[in-house]
């Protein structure tokens, strides 16, 4: 417990950001109780209404409560972002670890495959994939997974290769440890911290990728509220009700900023030598 307090005292920014993320998570969990109105309930009588006690931030073109939509939109955006990061992390790390540890043909195939992806601006490829598969949240996550896993595979592979030759691995092998035991007991614990930092730093980027695709109308489909597609719907009413396009943007901006800061401070804590 004392260690914990000391850690927080040393890393105030990090602790503060963690609290912010926690608040964000709690907000998402309790959205049904916080949101003043049903985000999907349309009522043309309230269309584009200004602020009122019923609609704290006004209503959109279909008379839906903007605040409720923003809150539910946060849930959608964050859910998609975390799903994407976790899946990419698992797929990339698994592939990279196996390729790095066993080498051979599988390694060559994986690396050539990743060369293909690196030879192309990822967002364009993601757009093309969603375009071909059809627009939906799941396809967006799929497309970004296809594009993003490469980075994790490469990094985890190079980490594994540098660890594979260490003496304690040889010792474990001589001690009769099985391959999977070596991977789970010695290799993964060593590479996961750096990969987690990388994943945290990528949270913001991936959130931007998802919301860009949604903004283009390729991600979450209306009427599901999502910050990207809310911006897309709101932009048509920019002249009369600018709030429709300003608030979702602020949402993305602030959340991405929190994630970026969190990633930075996490890196500073775990790896104080590098400077960026």
């Amino acid at each position: 417990m004392e260690d914990f307090i000391l850690f927080i005292k040393k890393n105030k920014l990090f602790a503060f950001l963690c609290i912010l993320v926690l608040i964000l998570a709690l907000m998402c969990l309790f959205v049904p109780y916080i949101a003043p109105n049903d985000p999907l309930k349309t009522n043309m009588a309230n269309s584009l209404q200004g602020r009122s006690s019923q609609f704290p931030l006004g209503a959109d073109n279909l008379g839906r409560c903007l605040l409720s939509r923003l809150l539910y939109g946060a849930v959608t955006s964050l859910k998609l972002t975390f799903c994407l990061v976790i899946i990419v992390f698992i797929v990339g790390t698994t592939v990279g670890t196996l390729a790095g540890y066993f080498g051979g043909i599988a390694d060559t195939i994986i690396m050539r495959l990743s060369d293909i992806f690196l030879a192309f601006p990822s967002i364009i490829f993601a757009i093309a994939i969603v375009g071909i598969l059809g627009a939906s949240s799941i396809n967006t996550v799929m497309a970004l997974l296809i594009v993003d896993w490469v980075k994790y595979a490469r990094v985890s592979k190079s980490l594994v290769i540098s660890i594979r030759k260490k003496d304690y691995i040889k010792a474990a092998k001589m001690g009769g440890a099985k391959e999977y035991q070596i991977i789970f007991k010695y290799i993964l614990p060593n590479i996961i911290p750096s990969l987690v930092v990388m994943a945290t730093m990528d949270l913001g980027t991936m959130m931007l990728q998802i919301s860009s695709l949604s903004f283009l109308g390729l991600g979450a489909q209306p009427p599901t509220p999502e910050w990207g597609n809310m911006l897309n719907e709101g932009k048509d009413y920019m002249q009369t009700v600018p709030g429709l396009m300003i608030y979702p943007g602020v949402g993305i901006f602030v959340t991405v900023m929190i994630f970026n800061l969190l990633g930075d401070s996490m890196r500073d804590i775990l790896d104080p030598n590098t400077e960026y």
């Binding site: 050539r112 495959l113 060369d115 293909i116 030879a119 192309f120 601006p121 990822s122 967002i123 364009i124 490829f125 757009i127 093309a128 994939i129 969603v130 375009g131 071909i132 598969l133 059809g134 913001g204 931007l208 919301s211 860009s212 903004f215 283009l216 109308g217 390729l218 990207g228 911006l231 932009k235 920019m238 002249q239 600018p242 396009m245 300003i246 943007g249 993305i252 901006f253 991405v256 900023m257 970026n260 400077e275 960026y276």
Partner: protein
Amino acid sequence: MFGITFLTFALIYFSPGDPAAMLLSATGVAPSPELIQQVREEMGLNKPFLIQYLHWLSGVLKGDFGTSYKYSKPVLDLIMVSLPATFKLAGVSLFGMMVISLPLGIMSALYKNKALDYMIRFISFLGISMPGFWIGLLLMYIFSIKLKILPVMGDSGWKSIILPAVTLIIAMASKYTRQLRAAILEEISQDYVIGARARGVKEKVILLRHVLQSSLLSIITLLGISLGSLLGGVVIVETIFSWPGVGKLAIEAIFSRDYPLIQGYVVWMTVIYVLINMMVDISYCFLDSRIRLEKRI
């Protein structure tokens, strides 16, 4: 490159939509099963996957990208009409990005951990956290709707390029400035800089002759990467501002499931991207005598 075309082709092949039905509904004919079958035969869709791919590929090599379903025009023509607008926008943005980022990045590295550095870092941090499309919409709201000094969308004269270009510049310059700062800081911490300082070489000379010259390589590499993300960012900005470039064309193609056009777009972007990377690689030879000498020996 062949990998990318193969992958997109495979995706199209296995995708749920039937191109024949798409073609018919695009031309306004009610798709009956017999008609679809007939069109499938004409389009060669009943042949095995690999043969279709090779057929398409041999067409591409001859400069024939197929015909767009939606516009019933050759894909190549459509892309050629739109490319200049994209190049114009990308060129202006790239230039603007360099003009802003180079001095800021260098200053930020020189005045490390001073007020100026913090300010630059703070602003660039805001820049990378903002979604590009939101910047675009905000700029549009402020300058076109509130102040009414710049046109909202389309390509009509030099004024209309300002907003899309500024949108791209803000997003790209923030990233590039940060990368530049890191690259130059790394160079400054090298031993030879300490050596030069110890010998009493003037700071200005160290900076201009040694540090900048040797960090030129990483500056150019980063520029190549930025160009790649520029190609991606252009798609979104073109859609917001209805800029008549390839990005907008591609998004429209996606919504109308115009597969030959999507495919052609992907090929063209890959070609451009590969060319950029090749140029970056070639420039290494001119800039870095180590690489140049290695080749000669």
